[in-house]
């Protein structure tokens, strides 16, 4: 099962990619300038046309210098980005028109300036966000690659009046250039994903170490205060609030992990209720971890269901959890007054919302059996692991 990416992770990858693009865009222009200068020097042009192509190449090199010092079109976004992408269609037309009569696509190794579109296409593959708002993310790059390739065939047809073996080979060789460039861009995009994951892991580890140290100290400190001042209700209340805040922060940090340790999740939630209601049974989860979304659901279920038991006057609660053929099953029973099944269909209740969240993940929340007293709820959710 693919891992889910959160908005935070998307934002992190965007940040890393922007840093990369910001530093490298000038290289793209320099590469395009070099491609034009090379075609002016190598391919057959009349002197005046050759000068035009050389000027175009020089202009790109000058732009590269400017971008090196400032910002490139993809970082500026909007019209600047669109203009750069537009050049991959405009420049090939200009080159085709400037080529000496009868020489366009006359070299089977490549069309004139065939490497020109490579750089912008590579950047589109690396940085698809540049067109996200306007076109949506994935189809833009591939659409551009196809359009550039078709343009060469169209130009050959219009300028040469048809195709011969050499011109077709020339166009096909050029296609290889742009496809390879786009492919390299996609690989770079994947590498930024790897960097993002590494960065996230390091951050998580540092936060976890910090929390382990801080939390353990705060817990010890608060336990000491409780023992020192057992007869000062106002102070105990404040200590309780502080313990609750620390616990909630700890849970937030736990739930941000890729793999959420179920033992810690249960422990934190059970701790919060252990002075409030008798917890007759708790699950043993050992080293078991689950995916982030499953952990978030289990945490919510523990919080909501234990709270419901307390609010409705139960004296004792039983918490069980186990894995059964790819499903994690949480069962919470209490000796409270019980409830009508219709409650779960009322959109205003936490049970209804919890059931909705469980179903979104492919699971469910059900009342288990009919008890003379109390209630028993069973939440199931797929773990997404291979058996």
């Amino acid at each position: 099962m693919p891992s889910e990416r959160t908005a935070d992770e998307d934002a992190a990858q965007l940040r890393i990619t922007r840093q990369l693009v910001d530093r490298m865009e000038w290289v793209g222009f320099a590469y395009q300038g070099a491609a034009l200068v090379q075609t002016a020097l190598v391919d057959p042009f009349e002197p005046a046309e050759k000068t035009v192509v050389l000027v175009l190449g020089a202009a790109h090199l000058a732009l590269a210098a400017v971008i090196w010092r400032t910002k490139g079109p993809f970082i500026r976004g909007g019209g600047a980005a669109a203009a750069w992408v537009a050049t991959i269609f405009i420049i090939p037309v200009i080159i085709a028109l400037l080529a000496a009569p009868g020489t366009y696509a006359s070299n089977s190794s490549c069309v004139q300036a065939c490497t020109y579109p490579a750089a912008p296409l590579l950047f589109v593959a690396v940085y698809p966000w540049v067109f996200t708002r306007a076109f949506g993310k994935s189809p833009v790059g591939i659409g551009l690659v196809v359009a550039v390739c078709l343009e060469w065939f169209l130009l050959i047809y219009l300028i040469n009046g048809g195709f011969d073996r050499t011109s077709v080979l020339s166009a096909l060789s050029s296609v290889i250039w742009v496809v390879v460039s786009y492919g390299i861009g996609r690989i770079v995009a994947r590498l930024t994903g790897v960097v993002r994951k590494g960065e996230k892991q390091i951050q998580q580890q540092k936060t976890e170490e910090f929390f382990n140290f801080l939390h353990s100290h705060i817990k010890s400190g608060l336990a000491a205060i409780r023992l020192e001042q057992p007869n000062v209700p106002a102070m105990l209340e404040k200590v309780g609030e502080l313990e609750h805040t620390v616990s909630e922060q700890r849970l937030t940090q736990l739930l941000s992990l890729d793999r959420v340790p179920l033992a810690m999740l249960c422990s934190e939630r059970i701790r919060a209720f252990s002075g409030v209601i008798r917890i007759a049974e708790t699950p043993r989860m050992g080293a078991r971890t689950v995916r982030g979304p499953v952990g978030i659901l289990i945490d919510r279920a523990l919080g909501d269901l234990l709270k419901n038991a307390v609010v409705h006057g139960a004296q004792t609660v039983w918490v069980r959890m186990e894995t059964r053929t790819g499903m994690l099953v949480l069962e919470i029973a209490d000796d409270g007054p019980g409830f009508d099944e219709a409650v779960m269909d009322d959109p205003g209740t936490s049970l209804h919302r919890l059931r909705g969240s469980a179903r979104e993940l492919g699971g469910d929340l059900r009342r288990s059996g009919h008890l003379p007293r109390g209630s028993r709820l069973m939440l199931s959710v797929p773990t997404g692991e291979e058996p």
Binding site: L227, E243, I279, A287
Partner: protein, 253 residues
């Protein structure tokens, strides 16, 4: 009854000693860590309360680890409460003990190890949620009566029936243990692991997928991972206190 409390948080230790004396009439001696505790005549105590990690020892060891002065053959690795647990568990007729911990991520493998390897059966959370010492007193009485007792707050850290044991998975094989420890020391590539363990880079490369299989057997939640190397590195760095624990190394060299 005479109780030995091994706890590094001095204010908490002082209060617990005082309250146990006041409420139960027990005589409590306090040691800052297992090293200091070894100076006491353990046989003279009926009960011991053992914290798992000690901040000053962990911090000192981590500084040495970061400075690169720790190796797999260092005379002593990280000293934790497992040392005291091992010593006391070795004599079933001797001092009974309670493991007393906050149950943080860095202690969860220690808890499992104490349960599986040394037969620890009495566990109490430092902050049980009740705000009193009732839970600790219950735990101590259970230990004195040789009854198991697990604070509900810590119960979830213990293994479910039939769960794969640490000894049968991540600590199963000496070569893989060496690689785990090298990764916990900070090695991040096959070359670095090879340098620390003395195994060839190729052999290390072959061990990593096996270690990932061990890990997946130990924690089925990791089966979804697509990158064994990253997962193994991440697990070793997150649990370095366990992989570099001195007692764990003595039991599983």
């Amino acid at each position: 009854m005479r109780v030995l409390l091994i706890e590094d948080h001095a204010p908490l230790a002082g209060l617990v000693s005082r309250e146990l004396q006041r409420e139960c009439g027990w005589e409590v001696s306090y040691a800052r860590d297992p090293r200091e505790a070894s100076a006491h005549d353990r046989a003279s105590f009926d009960l011991a309360i053992i914290d798992l990690l000690y901040e000053h020892l962990t911090r000192d060891f981590d500084s040495r680890r970061a400075a690169g002065t720790v190796s797999l053959t260092s005379k002593e690795l990280l000293l934790s409460g497992l040392a005291a647990v091992r010593d006391l568990a070795a004599d079933p007729a001797g001092t009974r003990f309670v493991i007393w911990t906050s149950g943080e991520a860095s202690r969860r493998l220690h808890l499992l190890f104490a349960y599986e390897e040394f037969g620890a059966r009495v566990f109490c959370s430092k902050s049980a949620g009740t705000g009193t010492l009732d839970t600790l007193i219950d735990a101590l009485r259970a230990a004195a009566d040789k009854r198991p007792y697990v604070d509900p707050v810590l119960n979830s850290y213990l293994p479910a029936d039939g769960a794969a044991a640490i000894s049968g998975t991540i600590l199963h094989d000496p070569a893989r243990r060496a690689v785990w420890r090298a990764l916990a020391l900070g090695a991040r590539s096959r070359g670095q692991v090879s340098e620390i363990t003395g195994y060839s880079s190729r052999h290390v490369g072959n061990l990593i997928p096996e270690m990932f299989n061990d890990l997946s057997a130990f924690d089925a939640g990791l089966r979804t991972s697509s990158s064994p190397m990253n997962e193994v590195i991440s697990y070793a760095s997150r649990n370095w206190e366990f992989f570099l624990d001195d007692t764990v190394r003595q039991v599983y060299p």
